[in-house]
């Protein structure tokens, strides 16, 4: 194995560790959003839809555009637009960029990073956040129905 191969693997491991650390931090906040969403008329397919999109897209902007459209179309203010939950979630996901910047800055001290790395970390952080959100939402909704 060449030094370059070794560096690439080490970077991947370091990235995964940094993202996993942040993911655990997001759990509580994601639970709060899930709790707010259970007070809306949203069902699990819509929340899962957002999670699925995040897992399959290669752009953060696809996630935020999706959310913007859902908030904008909710004229009854009963789903994504209820009590500003969609707007707050949009701001939350956008704000994860700061964490991505910090992770990229910390890793750049040891590894040579791709110019697109920070954006990719941001995308992965959004996925982590939404993964927690969807899980909590489904759990809370099931609890409510009992």
């Amino acid at each position: 194995m060449s030094t370059q191969d070794f560096q690439e693997i080490a970077l991947r491991v370091a990235l995964s560790q940094a993202i996993a650390g942040k993911s655990d931090e997001y759990d509580r906040r994601a639970q709060e959003y899930a709790s707010r969403l259970t007070g809306t008329k949203l069902d699990k397919t819509q929340v899962r839809g957002l999670e699925s999109l995040a897992c399959t897209t290669d752009k953060v902007s696809d996630i935020t555009d999706w959310l913007k459209l859902r908030v904008g179309r909710d004229s009854g203010r009963e789903r994504w637009a209820k009590d500003g939950v969609g707007r707050d979630l949009f701001a939350e996901l956008d704000g994860l960029r700061n964490d991505a910047q910090k992770i990229a800055a910390a890793l750049s001290r040891t590894y040579s990073l791709d110019a697109d790395q920070e954006r990719q970390v941001h995308l992965r952080l959004c996925r982590e956040f939404l993964k927690h959100l969807a899980a909590h939402f489904e759990y809370l909704q099931a609890e409510q129905k009992r």
Partner: protein, 151 residues
Amino acid sequence: MNALEYRLIQKEKIAAWSDRWQSEAARFADSHRDLLPRRITNAQLYGLGNVVRSARRYADVEKFIKHQAEKAGRVGRLDVHGYWKDLETALGKLRGEAQTLLKNIPLPVEADSRQALDALHRELASLYVQHLVAHSVYWTPDEEEHKRRER
């Protein structure tokens, strides 16, 4: 570079471009906020989105936008005419962006560079419009909401 490698690298570059340009499209929407949703309706914006997504050549997008501008101009809706003209300019400028992206990705030997440029221009326009529509709808109360407020 083979066609598959080219497509993969291009996909990554386009994704990065799209995320970078989301704020630019949002600025365009914000600078025409006064026209939304009465003069430029959500239906028109969704229509634009459909045309851009289904267009095979950039010229089809341009034709649609020119037609919208002409229609508005004929009935004296100068502000709406201006909106479509501004959009035509904004999307037209993306050809330069497409050229820059293409410079950084060597085309596969068998590819036609003019066709590749047009396809990329159309794709960038589609992403720009996606951001534009989402941001326009996001900040604009729809007609129903307007009516409710008026009552």
